[in-house]
Symmetry: C2
Subunit: 397 residues, 2 copies
């Protein structure tokens, strides 16, 4: 059983703050500052160039990849860390589409995070006009999986509403139709149980600064299934993905398995924070996280619906259909969120009218939820965003 009091104690949450935005940027693990400082002062400072070997820097992307792999049901040695999520989307897509050379359509949905779609557009701008990005409504993805589709590019959990796709069912259908799957786990990794191996996913990508708490701009990760690991080519074929980077051959020769998805020199200082964050996950069971996330989010939904008139649930009502966040539409959502934040409860806002709240059980408990609901109730019922005090406060910050 996961010890949530221990995980909660592992984070720095500022006094007076209830943090419901870990789905955007996770909070600071207390050990991260020390770990980053060691890497900067002792490793970089004293080992200089030798740090690449002496301090294990060169292996960090695969080492951290494996630690993330455990949280998403990946086979050991099949996840590597690096770059940003958008870059990893591009790499996965570019490799996936070449594995289906007779097909030309990338299928995605209008609930996907826009950067995924932009990267697909960019890839198609290179591949040529025969290729196409087809967008359907999230609920129509399954029906749109046909023999015409080369690759699906689907984000499991919708960034705005938390609506969750049925990853197992969609992957199964894709496989049955010869479609290669690319799953974006941005709002899944560290939030809900993911079983890449179990569902038979082909590629997956994700970021580490949300529920994994790796820090602002922490690197992304990519998974390539054992079926494809020795065949998939990265297109972004950098020297650290080369079979023998320090041979400095003039021609590219892909490295073993997912290591070929490495590109350039990895961000060691940034990864030090991520490494400290991943320590907290040792001993955490994702099913425990999921159960608790559902308890917390159900408590929040019930509280808001009872006490905050005007807010309309935008997320699926059934928690099994959601990730680890809920969103409410509210006419004055932007202003209300500003006022809520000014009163110590941090969520965020997505245009045009969506107030978004994430529930990370590693550092949130029932008392936080009750206090957050109570503050939100005050904001809404007293229309705090209209008060002179708030307007003044806003003017000076």
């Amino acid at each position: 059983m996961t010890d949530f009091s221990a995980t909660r104690a592992a984070f720095h949450i500022p006094d007076g703050v209830i943090y419901l935005d870990g789905n955007s940027l996770g909070p600071l693990p207390k050990t991260a500052a020390r770990r980053v400082s060691e890497v900067v002062t002792q490793e970089w400072g004293d080992h200089l160039i030798k740090g690449w070997n002496d301090c294990g820097w060169m292996d960090m992307p695969m080492r951290l990849g494996d630690r993330i792999g455990r949280l998403i049901g990946a086979e050991p040695g099949h996840v590597v860390v690096g770059d940003t999520l958008s870059i990893k989307v591009f790499q996965a897509l570019a490799a996936a589409i070449k594995l289906n050379p007779d097909r030309r359509v990338i299928l995605s949905d209008t609930g996907n995070f826009p950067s995924d779609l932009y990267m697909a557009e960019g890839l198609i701008s290179l591949l040529g006009p025969d290729y196409d990005l087809r967008l359907v409504a999230p609920e129509d993805v399954s029906a749109a999986i046909t023999e015409e589709i080369a690759v699906t590019l689907i984000t499991e959990v919708d960034y705005r509403t938390g609506r969750k796709h049925d990853m197992a069912a969609l992957t199964k259908k894709a496989r049955a139709h010869g479609v290669v799957t690319v799953w974006d786990l941005a709002h899944s990794a560290g939030a809900i149980p993911v079983d890449l191996r179990g569902v038979g996913a082909d590629f997956a990508v994700g970021c580490t600064y949300k529920y994994l708490n790796g820090g602002p701009g922490a690197p992304a990760f990519i998974y390539v299934s054992p079926d494809h690991a020795e065949k998939a080519l990265p297109a972004l074929s950098g020297w650290l993905g080369h079979d023998s980077p320090f041979a400095f051959d003039l021609g590219y020769r892909a490295g073993a398995g997912v290591s070929r998805m490495r590109v350039g020199t990895p961000p060691i200082v940034q990864m030090a924070a991520l490494e400290a964050a991943l320590d907290i996950w040792d001993g955490v069971d994702l099913q425990d996280v999921r159960n608790r996330s559902i308890d917390l989010s159900e408590r929040f939904v019930a509280g808001v619906e009872a006490h905050c008139p005007g807010l309309v649930l935008a997320s699926p009502r059934d928690p099994a259909q959601r990730g680890s966040q809920v969103s409410f539409r509210f006419e004055h959502g932007y202003a209300a969120m500003q006022a809520l934040i000014a009163n110590g409860v941090i969520g965020d806002f997505r245009a045009p009218d969506m107030m978004r709240f994430g529930f990370a059980p590693l550092y949130l408990d029932e008392d936080d939820i009750d206090a957050a609901v109570d503050t939100l109730r005050r904001v809404i019922t007293d229309r705090l965003w209209e008060t002179p005090e708030f307007q003044r406060k806003k003017a000076v910050t």
Copy 2:
């Protein structure tokens, strides 16, 4: 006049170390640890998601880009920081080749850093078999610039020998033949004066962990000239390069100028170290750096040639033809470099037989050079790599 005693005092160089590998990884700026710690503990820790606005995180890529721009002769607002150098090579190439839609050949040379060539290969794997990467010897680049060439991809300073291309002459010839230029400044930025605007370069890319001392895995930069900034498309079209990232449009619309070369969430912790490193460059004149680099490297070459039999200069003898490093071929180069490092002088080795030494005037002076020569002399004349003491030491480290 640049105050080199002040710049020297700004770095942490471990006791007993003479660091001649700043061309690979620059040493730690003393203020970097504090700056990184502030970003981790205060900004991330206390501002959480609000750090993106409160702490200026979102603007860092352009802000740091401008500070680098000053060092490479770029117009303000035309350099942005992010990703790795390999990714920036891909972006520049992908944009450049589309600006020359009737041509199909990327020209590079066999002295280029291999990752640049690998990225060009990867791009071509997407563009299709009509496209070609043509490699010539470095001395044949000028002759190979013809109306057939779409883009040149040239690294100004050779990573092994320090041999320097004539950037002004090659750019001029390229322009005369309608060829778009992509310059890789990996071994130029912070090492020698670069005048992107003056020579009329189209695109430039570079890294910040070498002479700019941004730390292991510090991000890269990209320059797009004002001529192209509103036309060049990044292909790696991520949300932070979108004209309006937080509108979350489903379709990509390139942002203003070079900001469209941003891709995903930038590495804030890593950039904090770079920011501290760039502070040191305030008040540094690159022509002073160049003059002093030539003095130091000439002193080193003379010393080595006088005292280290068997070492053969692999770099151009004329310092005007070199960047800020020199290399020597030596039969026992690998073992000798290990022994040299064990004796406190850090250079590096490139197969098959090249001992490489970088000269960064910001933290090196004449005494360092004399001491380095003296240590190298002892290593070579006493064949220190063969001594039992060294073999034992090697076995335990």
